[in-house]
C-alpha cells in the first residue's frame, strides 16, 4: 500500500506536467531511465568535450562532425542551462 502510494506520488511529481506537452508516449520506463542515466551521459559528454578540445589542438584543420558547430552548442548550453533550470 505504502509502495503504491509512493509510486503514485513519484509519477505525479515527475510525469504529469511532461505528459501534457507530449504527443509521443515516451514510455514511463524510458523517461525514468533517462533520469537515472542523466549523470552518466553528462559525465560522458564532459569527457568527450575535453577529448575534442585536445584533438582540435593537434588538428586545427579538422572539420566538425555532421550537425551544428560545437561553438554554437557551447553558446546554447551556457544560455539554456542557466535560464531553463532556474
Amino acid at each position: 500500500m505504502h509502495m503504491q502510494y509512493y509510486q503514485e506520488v513519484v509519477h505525479s511529481a515527475l510525469m504529469v506536467p511532461t505528459m501534457l506537452a507530449m504527443y509521443v508516449d515516451p514510455g514511463s520506463g524510458s523517461y525514468y531511465f533517462q533520469m537515472l542515466i542523466a549523470g552518466l551521459t553528462t559525465v560522458l559528454f564532459f569527457f568527450s568535450s575535453i577529448k575534442r578540445k585536445v584533438l582540435s589542438l593537434f588538428n586545427k584543420t579538422s572539420e566538425p562532425p555532421a550537425g551544428a558547430p560545437d561553438a554554437s552548442l557551447k553558446k546554447t548550453i551556457e544560455s539554456k542551462d542557466k535560464s531553463l533550470t532556474e
Binding site: 504527443y23 520506463g29 524510458s30 555532421a66 550537425g67
Partner: protein, 460 residues
C-alpha cells in the same frame, strides 16, 4: 470546411500540430495554430535554413491557407518521388537514417529546439540521402528527458543491433511492430555477446529492463528540474557512438555475386546493357522500377539516363551492396530497396491507412524485369497471364527478359522438381503478353538463349 478535392493522409492523425493532405496529386502539410510558436521558432532560430542547407530536412514553401479553415499555415514540401519504409531498407540505409536523425537532433539542440519524435517513418531518401520529411517534428527546447528516446531505440537501435549481431532478415520485424521493435523482444533475440557492447548494454538491455520495472528505480531518479542540456547532448552523443559501432558485412551469397558467375559469361552482360540502353532511349521514362534488380547493374543505366529509379530485390545482401555502391558513386536518382515481389509490403496500421502497400505507391513509367520471369513462373508457379497482368498494372512501358527452359539457370530451378510447365515457351510468352502489350522491340542476347523485349501497354 474542407474541399472534396482534398484527401487527408491516413498516417496523419497522431500529432495535433498538423496533418498532411493530398490535393490534385501533390502533398501539402497543414500547420495548426497550436504549433505556431514552434513553427516560428524553427524559422527564426535559423534551424530550418541550417537543416535544409545540409539536406537533412526537406525544404518547403508557404502557400495560401484558403480552403483550410482554422489553419495557421499551409506548406508545400518538396515532393518525394517514391515513399519507402524502414522495413524495406537495408542495414546501411537504416544506419544512415539513424545517424541523420541524431545529426538533426544535434542541430536542433544547438538552435534551442529538440526533436519531439524520432520515428524512422519520418525519414525518406531524397537525392540518395536520408532526410526528415516531417517539418513539424521540432519543438522549443525544455530541459527534461528526451520524449523520443524510447522511440529512437525501438525504431533504429534495436533493428540495427538485431541485423548486425543476429541476421539481416530480422529487419522485417519493423513491419510487424510499427512503433519499433520492443526492446525486451530485441534483448531476448540478441546473442549474449550483445552485452559486450557498452552502447547496447545501456540503451537496449538496461533500457529494456527499466521499462518493465519503472516504480522503485524511479525513486532514486534525478528530478526533471535538475535535468541539464549536457545530459541531452551526452545522451545524443552516446546514441551516435552506439549506432556507429554497429556494422554488418553482407556475405557473398549466390545472388550478390551473380554477375561474376559462369552463367553470365561471354558477351551476355555487355550486350544486355547495350540493348537496355537502346530501350531507355525509346521509352524515355521519367521513373523506373527495376524488379529483381540484384546489385543494380541495369538500374544504374536507367538512373544515369535521368530516370528516378527504384531497384527492388528480395535478397538483403544484394540491396546492401547496391546501396553501398550508390552511396560511393553518389547516384542521387537511384534508390535500392528490399522487397519480396511474391509477398510485397502490405498496407499497415490503423484502418490499413498509415503505411501504403507497395501497389498503392506512385507507379513508374517503365518496369524493368530482367532475369525474373523464370523465377516467377517456374519457382513460384505463376501463370504467364498473371505475370503479364501484374506488370500491366504497374506501368505503360515494360522491359522484360524471357528466360527459356533450356537456359542454365532455368534448368537449375527445374532440376529439383517435376516439369509441369508445358506452356512455358517463347511462343506462349509472346502470345500472352501480346494480349495487353504491343511488342516494340525484341533482341536475342548474345551468348545466351534469352530474349529481351520492350513492350508498350495497349490502351484499354
Amino acid at each position: 470546411m474542407m474541399s472534396e478535392r482534398l484527401k487527408v493522409s491516413g498516417a496523419s492523425f497522431r500529432d495535433p500540430s498538423g496533418y498532411v493532405v493530398e490535393r490534385e496529386g501533390e502533398f501539402l502539410r497543414v500547420v495548426q495554430p497550436c504549433y505556431s510558436e514552434h513553427y516560428k521558432c524553427l524559422l527564426d532560430s535559423g534551424l530550418y535554413d541550417a537543416l535544409t542547407g545540409r539536406g537533412l530536412l526537406i525544404a518547403h514553401e508557404e502557400i495560401g491557407a484558403g480552403g483550410f479553415e482554422g489553419a495557421f499555415k499551409v506548406i508545400r514540401p518538396r515532393q518525394i518521388s517514391f515513399i519507402s519504409y524502414p522495413y524495406e531498407w537495408c542495414f546501411s540505409q537504416l544506419k544512415d537514417a539513424a545517424l541523420a536523425t541524431l545529426a538533426i537532433q544535434k542541430m536542433a539542440l544547438a538552435h534551442g529546439m529538440i526533436l519531439k519524435d524520432a520515428s524512422a517513418f519520418n525519414i525518406q531518401f531524397v537525392d540518395g540521402k536520408p532526410a526528415l520529411i516531417d517539418t513539424l517534428s521540432f519543438e522549443k527546447l525544455a530541459l527534461e528527458p528526451w520524449a523520443a528516446y524510447g522511440q529512437f531505440c525501438r525504431h533504429f537501435l534495436a533493428p540495427l543491433a538485431l541485423i548486425s549481431l543476429r541476421d539481416p532478415r530480422l529487419g522485417r520485424l519493423s513491419r510487424i511492430h510499427l512503433d519499433g521493435v520492443p526492446l525486451d523482444l530485441a534483448a531476448k533475440l540478441l546473442p549474449w555477446r550483445g552485452r559486450m557492447n557498452p552502447g547496447l548494454l545501456l540503451h537496449l538491455y538496461w533500457h529494456a529492463a527499466s521499462g518493465q520495472r519503472p516504480g522503485p528505480a524511479a525513486a532514486k531518479a534525478v528530478k526533471p528540474k535538475n535535468y541539464r542540456l549536457s545530459s541531452l547532448l551526452g545522451l545524443r552523443e552516446n546514441l551516435e557512438s552506439a549506432v556507429r559501432k554497429l556494422n554488418w558485412q553482407p556475405p557473398k551469397t549466390a545472388w550478390a555475386s551473380y554477375y561474376q558467375g559462369p552463367v553470365t559469361g561471354g558477351r551476355y552482360v555487355e550486350h544486355k546493357q547495350q540493348i537496355m540502353a537502346d530501350f531507355l532511349k525509346i521509352a524515355r521514362p521519367g521513373s523506373v522500377w527495376d524488379l529483381g534488380a540484384n546489385t543494380g547493374l541495369f538500374s544504374r543505366l536507367a538512373a544515369a539516363a535521368g530516370a528516378d529509379t527504384v531497384a527492388f530485390d528480395g535478397d538483403a545482401d544484394c540491396v546492401e551492396m547496391n546501396y553501398l555502391e550508390m552511396r560511393r558513386k553518389k547516384e542521387p536518382r537511384l534508390l535500392p530497396l528490399w522487397m519480396d515481389l511474391t509477398n510485397p509490403s502490405p498496407a499497415l496500421g490503423w484502418e490499413h491507412g498509415e503505411r501504403m502497400s507497395w501497389m498503392e505507391r506512385r507507379k513508374p513509367d517503365l518496369v524493368v524485369a530482367l532475369g525474373l520471369v523464370h523465377h516467377l513462373a517456374i519457382a513460384n508457379n505463376l501463370p504467364l497471364s498473371r505475370i503479364r497482368d501484374f506488370c500491366a498494372g504497374l506501368s505503360p512501358w515494360l522491359a522484360i527478359e524471357f528466360v527459356p527452359k533450356e537456359d542454365a539457370n532455368a534448368q537449375k530451378l527445374l532440376s529439383v522438381r517435376e516439369d509441369i510447365f508445358g506452356g512455358y515457351t517463347r511462343e506462349n510468352f509472346e502470345g500472352e503478353f501480346s494480349r495487353r502489350y504491343t511488342i516494340v522491340r525484341s533482341s536475342e542476347v548474345e551468348d545466351s538463349r534469352r530474349v529481351l523485349y520492350l513492350m508498350r501497354r495497349n490502351q484499354p
